[in-house]
Symmetry: C2
Subunit: 164 residues, 2 copies
């Protein structure tokens, strides 16, 4: 390989690009129908689309502390969208509010991702100890991003089932 630093940076860029692509697909999905459509369940007795948006915000927001980038922006969403399934909480935030949170979070994450170096991406994420990381150097920040990209794809598969 002619230039390995270039290769490493390029692959990291590909992974970030694919994250952004799936992130954008979620944004597009939630701008496709009238707001009322997102109050429907994606399948019978399953989560409503609006809950899945909140869930994606809560999970993606968790990347901030996990990647050592700061505190969560919306820690209050954990109790609504992470700890309990849909329909456990009487009132969810409105779709308008959730879409604003989604945009704010995406801008914050994109800003961080654009600044992170390859060395940072290949360093441990914050829920693995330095000792455990030595034993398994694949438990790095990049792995968190790969995982969360697939998490977006997972719920996109469900959202696309919505009978809007």
């Amino acid at each position: 390989m002619e230039n390995n630093q270039t290769s490493t940076n390029q692959i990291i860029k590909q992974i970030i690009n694919y994250w952004a692509d799936r992130n954008k697909a979620v944004t597009v999905f939630f701008n496709k129908y009238d707001d009322s459509a997102y109050l429907k369940e994606v399948a019978q007795n399953r989560s409503r689309a609006i809950y899945l948006l909140g869930h994606l915000i809560a999970v993606n927001d968790g990347m901030l502390p996990l990647l050592g980038l700061g505190e969560k922006i919306f820690p209050e969403f954990d109790a609504i969208f992470l700890s309990v399934p849909d329909k456990s909480v009487a009132d969810l935030p409105s779709l308008t509010e959730l879409k604003q949170c989604w945009e704010k979070l995406n801008a914050t994450l994109a800003n961080h991702f654009n600044k992170m170096t390859a060395d940072e991406w290949l360093d441990r994420h914050m829920s693995v100890s330095p000792e455990d990381f030595k034993l398994d150097p694949l438990r790095n920040k990049l792995n968190v991003l790969i995982n969360r990209t697939n998490h977006q794809s997972y719920h996109l598969g469900q959202l696309y089932l919505l009978n809007a």
Copy 2:
């Protein structure tokens, strides 16, 4: 970074590992219930689980020519699982047969993936011309694998909705 060749190889290994992880999750899912459960739709008026297994085989099989690794093993599945939605074809292959195809394909792909070098992963995939690849070097074989990993996650999201 101390050793960039190592970094490049490590990231490629992470991407392959995550592919294998999501691939395994599909295998585990289709060994979880009685065969009859997979004849159900994952959601009302949507694909049956058995169709999605065939669809995943057809799409993953397409990686062989796309990555320049050979011909498809099950080209006959395209007409059943790619060109048409579920319930277009009267008789699908049995679940037993599909699971055997799935295993055979996974072993073939794993064998190839383990042998491919970083240079090969970063080379163009076969549906992009050398000229277009020069303009966008991110259209490489690794991008196909990232995409197909997320495709597995996408349908896993749907499969997990199955009321088995």
